[in-house]
Symmetry: C2
Subunit: 184 residues, 2 copies
C-alpha cells in the first residue's frame, strides 16, 4: 500500500555541503547547506536563503563547497546553526582553518578533505546559486591507489531531515554496466 506524504523535499541521499566564502575584508565564513546538487559535468547549484554567505557571494562571485564527513560531523553541524553575524569567531570555534583557493576568490577549508572550488554563473529565482566548478581540491589521504577519491577512505555523511540524523555511506552493493558489460 502506498501513502501520500504531501509536498516534501524527500530525495535520498542528499549531500551535506559546507559553503565557504570571503567577506569584503577577506574574512572566511562557512555555512551548512542542505539543498543543492550537481547539475552538469562542471556545474553545481545550491539553494540558499539570505545569510552572511549570500552577501559574500554577491560581492566575490565565488564560493567553495566542501563535503561534510564523519570525521568533522560536529564542526559541520556547528557552522550550520551559528551565524557569523552573531559569532565573529565562528570558524575558529568550529576548528576550521582556511587557505585561499588558487582558482576562485573563496576559502578552501583545510580540515575537510574534498572541496569544489566554484565561480558564480548566475542566481536564479533569488535563491538558487548556479556555479561552475573550476577545480576539485582533495586531501591525498582520501585517494585510492588509482588516484581517485576512494569511498573506502572517505566517509561523507547525509542528513535525514525528518529525524535530524546524520548517516554515513555504507558498503558497495553493486556495479554499473559500462559499454554493454557489467564490471565486477
Amino acid at each position: 500500500m502506498r501513502k501520500d506524504l504531501g509536498a516534501k523535499p524527500y530525495l535520498f541521499p542528499q549531500p551535506v555541503m559546507i559553503i565557504g566564502t570571503y567577506d569584503e575584508e577577506g574574512n572566511a565564513n562557512a555555512m551548512n547547506a542542505a539543498w543543492g546538487g550537481i547539475v552538469g559535468n562542471k556545474e553545481i547549484m545550491v539553494d540558499l536563503s539570505n545569510h552572511k554567505t549570500t552577501d559574500n557571494i554577491q560581492k566575490t562571485k565565488a564560493f567553495t563547497v566542501s563535503v561534510a564527513d564523519v570525521a568533522h560531523l560536529t564542526a559541520c553541524d556547528y557552522v550550520g546553526i551559528v551565524s557569523a553575524n552573531k559569532e565573529p569567531d565562528k570558524m575558529k570555534k568550529a576548528g576550521f582553518t582556511t587557505t585561499k583557493s588558487k582558482y576562485v576568490n573563496a576559502p578552501v577549508i583545510n580540515e575537510l578533505p574534498l572541496t569544489l572550488e566554484c565561480e558564480l554563473i548566475k542566481v536564479i529565482d533569488d535563491s538558487k546559486y548556479l556555479a561552475e566548478i573550476k577545480n576539485v581540491s582533495v586531501d591525498e589521504a582520501i585517494l585510492g591507489s588509482d588516484g581517485e577519491v576512494s569511498l573506502e577512505k572517505f566517509a561523507p555523511i547525509t542528513f535525514d531531515t525528518a529525524h535530524y540524523g546524520y548517516y554515513r555511506l555504507g558498503e558497495r552493493v553493486g556495479t554499473a554496466f559500462k559499454d554493454g558489460e557489467q564490471l565486477k
Copy 2:
C-alpha cells in the same frame, strides 16, 4: 597534502534518480539520472541531456523522480543504459509496472518505494529541469512508527562515478542540533 583533480562533478553523496514520464500515447518510460537535487522546500532540479524522457516532459510538463534502492539496483541500472527508442519493452524488461500519479501527468513506478511527483516549472539552459514537488508517494513498508520514511527500512543507493560502483547508506552517525540543543 592536497591535490587538484581539475573540474569534476565530485559531490558526495549524490542520489540515483529514476525519472518516470509518459509519451503522447500514455506509454510509461523511465531513465536513470545522475545529476540533480533538491533546490527548495518543494522544488527539485534534474539535469538531462536529450532523451525520450525530455521529449516526453516537453509534452506532459511533468515527471516523477523515484529513488533507486538496493532492492531494485539491477532494474534501476538497466533503465539507465537502455533507450526506449531502441527497446519498446524497456519497462517490462526492467520488471517495472506503473500507476498514473493522482497529482501530475506522469507514472509512479509501483516497485520503487519512494517517488516525488513533479510538475515542470521551467527548463533552464536547455538541460536543467526545474519542477515543483506536488506530492511524495511512499510504500508503507518503508515508514517507521512515526509515519516518516525510516532509513532503517529503506536503503537508497548512491553512485560512485569514478569507479562505476553503487553504495548503500550505512549507519546513523550523529544527530543535528535543533533549537539550541542536541537531540540524542
